[in-house]
Symmetry: C2
Subunit: 157 residues, 2 copies
């Protein structure tokens, strides 16, 4: 099973990349996991937010393969408990495509184009967190989900 | 306004304490913020989970002052959007007690004693996250809330 995490903009916080390294190593035991970083749009100072979102969206859509199962991490998405998210993932792994591609948007969210291409929308929280912290949260949760699927003693209900 | 974050167990992940340092510094501009760490219960290897929770609970309750507004960060709590959480906080700051004490439990959650003392329960997510990561999440969110209250350009709706 291949799982990719698609991100807008480089992370520039060391504590975030340190945490991501820890979960990358742990995830390697369960799946082929990779992080794909889309460079930030340049010269945005005088660019309207909608145009910035649109351009980011174009870059995202280009990177989604035809057979990918594309999942947006988005506040408009379904909220799961951890065991429900694990059950959802287990089903995707049995019935779905070759690659599951999770996408974290930029600070202004996703363009309409990206919403139209998405297969699923999942929300990690009703609260807003910086997209750099969302990366870390998501990777920990993905690791947690795999330990639930495998019945390993990490997650407590 | 004084805000305390009460935690069970030392953090031993460097990336978490690095992140917490960043938000501690930012929070210092808005409130008197401190982290209080309750030491882990010792010799838990053969201790039933309920006893471990009970003992942790006793230590927590001892540290809650009579006039504190005690808020558990708990999956059974209310879920807010960031602006709603900010509105809740603004009200507490106007009408409530001298100190707001937020409490993050251990891996098995809170004892009944702690639930009985609590004034509010707030949930950061339906998903379960490690309590070490919850500290970081909460501190970022508290910082975000203050920027919303002050009308500063950090949070985007």
């Amino acid at each position: 099973m291949k799982i990719s995490l698609l991100l807008i903009g480089k992370n520039n916080e060391k504590y975030i990349s340190d945490g991501m390294d820890i979960y990358s190593n742990r995830l390697a035991r369960y799946c082929g996991f990779e992080v794909i970083t889309v460079p930030d749009i340049k010269n945005t100072r005088n660019m309207p937010i909608e145009e910035q979102k649109y351009r980011e969206g174009q870059k995202i859509v280009e990177l989604i393969g035809k057979e990918d199962c594309c999942v947006l991490l988005d506040e408009r998405g379904v909220q799961y408990r951890t065991v429900e998210f694990a059950e959802w993932m287990r089903k995707q792994m049995v019935f779905s495509s070759k690659r599951i591609l999770f996408v974290v948007g930029g600070p202004y969210g996703f363009s309409e184009e990206v919403y139209q291409r998405a297969d699923f929308k999942i929300s990690l929280s009703k609260l807003t967190f910086p997209h750099q912290l969302v990366r870390l949260l998501f990777m920990e949760q993905l690791y947690r989900i795999f330990t639930v699927i495998k019945g390993e003693p990490y997650h407590h209900e």
